[in-house]
Symmetry: C2
Subunit: 168 residues, 2 copies
């Protein structure tokens, strides 16, 4: 997303001649501002955009970061297990892993028990990058959210979103 798709905020969209008096009417969101799915998607895009920006020094996408986090918390799992947990289809997980492995952040090792499966592990560099990424996420990304919503607000938001994700 370069800059073009960013939605117009409430007081924009005027033509040159109308800037001073803000003459031209802004487009009304109307009932859209009460549609949870719409606002949810908008908020999600904003949060991902900020995540990307905060972790830019390490060149990690949200998806890549989530894989590293999961490998750290679950050493010795295979591709299917990790992909399923993240809701990523196995075929699509292959290239994601390829990119991480080519950067020496994780490795695939054929399992001794079941030689069909690949055991996934973080490399030393993977651990180091993950540690640095976590620091950036906490100190920059989540810190900004805390600032905007307050610690209580953030907790409440997380609880409601988790409820939707798990029970809806």
């Amino acid at each position: 997303m370069a800059d073009s798709a960013k939605p117009v905020s409430r007081r924009e969209g005027r033509k040159e001649a109308a800037v001073a008096a803000d003459e031209t009417q802004a487009v009304q969101l109307g009932e859209l501002s009460d549609l949870l799915g719409y606002v949810l998607k908008r908020a999600q895009l904003k949060v991902f955009e900020d995540f990307l920006h905060c972790v830019a020094p390490l060149q990690l996408t949200p998806a890549q970061f989530s894989v590293l986090l999961l490998l750290d918390a679950n050493p010795g799992r295979n591709q299917t297990e990790i992909a399923n947990t993240l809701g990523i289809l196995r075929p699509n997980f292959v290239s994601l892993l390829d990119s991480l492995e080519s950067r020496d952040l994780c490795t695939r090792v054929r399992s001794a028990n079941d030689r069909r499966s690949h055991i996934l592990m973080l490399t030393e560099k993977g651990h180091a990058v993950l540690a640095r990424a976590k620091k950036l996420v906490v100190s920059k990304h989540e810190a900004r959210l805390n600032e905007l919503l307050g610690p209580d607000g953030r907790e409440a938001l997380l609880a409601m979103l988790t409820k939707i994700a798990e029970e809806f």
Copy 2:
């Protein structure tokens, strides 16, 4: 989304032999369950999925519904204005509009003032379909969310997401 990418919920992932005692360890989400962006995305997918299901009789996607809502609330606007407001790029808005217009839900009319621009309007059928869609959204989709979160919870969630979408 057929069914494959659905994430494994907490107590799954065991091998056949282990089902009874739930022996095989579930993959641990770990810090992922505290990452707002992750939960936000998961919740958004769930909500869109439910929206699609609830409005299935009318064959409207969330994006198409948002366009119809906006045209209803802002008659006489052109493509650029509507697309910008929704955060849709003008080139991508063309085929979206084509599909709505081919179903006789809206029309493009060349503006008399500025013959470059297309004024957008809902057709009679467009108004009717939008009215029916609104009923389905309120009575099925948003009703389910209200049931899950409670009216106060829903309001609080909407307020926080709006804040993120506008100020983050």
